[in-house]
Amino acid sequence: MMPIEPDLLIFSRLGLGLKGIILTLSAGAGGLGLVNLCQRRPFALAAMRVLAWVVAGLLVAGFLLIGWLNLRIYQRLPLKVPADLLYWLNQGLAAMNAREGTGYGLPLIDPAQPPRYILPLWIENGKYYFWFMAYALMILPAISRPVSHRLRGALVALLALQNAILFLLTDPFSRPLPKFFDEIGPWFSGTLDPLGRLGQFMRLYPRMLFYYNTPYMWLHPPLLFMSYAAITVTFVASLFMLAGRGRPEVEVLGYDYAKFGYFMLTLGMLLGYPWALEAWGPNWWWDPKICSSIMMWAIYSTYLHTRLYAHRKTMWYFTSGLGIVCFAAMIFTFITSFYFPGEHTGQ
């Protein structure tokens, strides 16, 4: 049994309770959203807004719970190397670092301070949680704006749909971090012989340093997920733009979120660049995920350029069409990690 088991039990119990409340309130908010989307007149907008705020607040509470679990993992799961292996391990690491000569070597092990996991909050199912929580928080200012009740209803209905997908398909509470625990399971099982333990450590240690614990992990993915959330709002606004001209407030709403999303996307992509050099060297440039990200960035740049001329009739529709293509490109870029092989997927 791993020393984290009691914490996992508390985490799952609290998380499942939270999940039930979020799903119930989301269904209520989504129902009101759908009514507003379909009706000519606004219906219980204030109640819909309050429900959306509560759902967003509860999602933040769940996020803090995920943070608590990661803190417990840091405290309870250090990779302690047995004294009989330590000398050989450090000898091996020193020789490997000297041979590589890249300047990105693996630090030697100090038995007083064993390596610990500093898990980011957006790995495995946590990434969907963060993405959809970012969306929930982002729509709060949008649904307080004086835009059409239908648009506000659509944004809230989408929030409910996302929460349903989140908890029914990718629930981070019922079985947290399955890949991570599968990875570290053998190390903590206590059944490995010394040689097996050495081999296992050399699988876990580089992955800990270059994937889980790297500072880039705290910048690159969350910035991209925030941009995904903002693109979703732009997408909804673009759909409403396509429905008819003469609604500048809808265009302004879409543009405001597009600006924020582009900011996050560009910064996130830029910050992935030195990380890729560090982790993979220079031979990654035409990796499928990079290709799809460049494509998405190019389409987004196009949207922002054409938007300057959105007051013209054809450009209005062209720009709104591009807002929809941006969203499609985002979905395509996201699923690239699952369908296409390459450095991002490790296939």
């Binding site: 900011f263 220079p282 031979n283 799809s292 460049i294």
Partner: protein, 208 residues
Amino acid sequence: MASPQKTSYDFYLILFTVLVLAAISAICVYGMFYFKFAELSRMPLPVKNAYMERMNELVSPFIIALILTLAVCVPKRILPAVWLNRFSLALGLMSVLIAWRWGVVAALKIALCLTLGLQVVVLGLALAGSERLNFETKGYWLRLGSSCMHLGVVLFILDLFFYRHRGLHLVLFWVTTVSTVLGMTGCFYSSLLARRAGGLARRAKGEE
């Protein structure tokens, strides 16, 4: 929303940029599917390198077009239309001559360095609040932001030529990142910045 009234040089440059970006996007999509169906992830390094070379060759005309567009976009801020046409013609001729004599990469590097120099001048003028700059949109912070952002793009493309020189490469990269972030802040949140700056100026005057 900005509302430029007449069809301008900027409009056509933007349309051209859109076309180039669309072409680059299409090449990226082609690369993804080729990578998957040719099972390149399982191939030895020489095969992967050959694929990278092929993709570089495919995308290079469009990167060249983007660089030349930037090289026209930047001086249009400081030159009147007649001189801009002359400049574009001279740039095109110079690029062809240098490419013929010393190769395409040298021509691109020179075009980029020229663009970089001009962009620094534009940034200096924008920083000084010069009214002589030709922008589609008005506003001190917006112009400053746009100048920083375009400087970031020029530096990023220039940086791609130096990836083998790790020190220089990373320095250029961080300058690119800072310039891009400042540029996006100025471009996207110019009215907020103007309000804050105005408030600070009024408060300073009040204290005097």
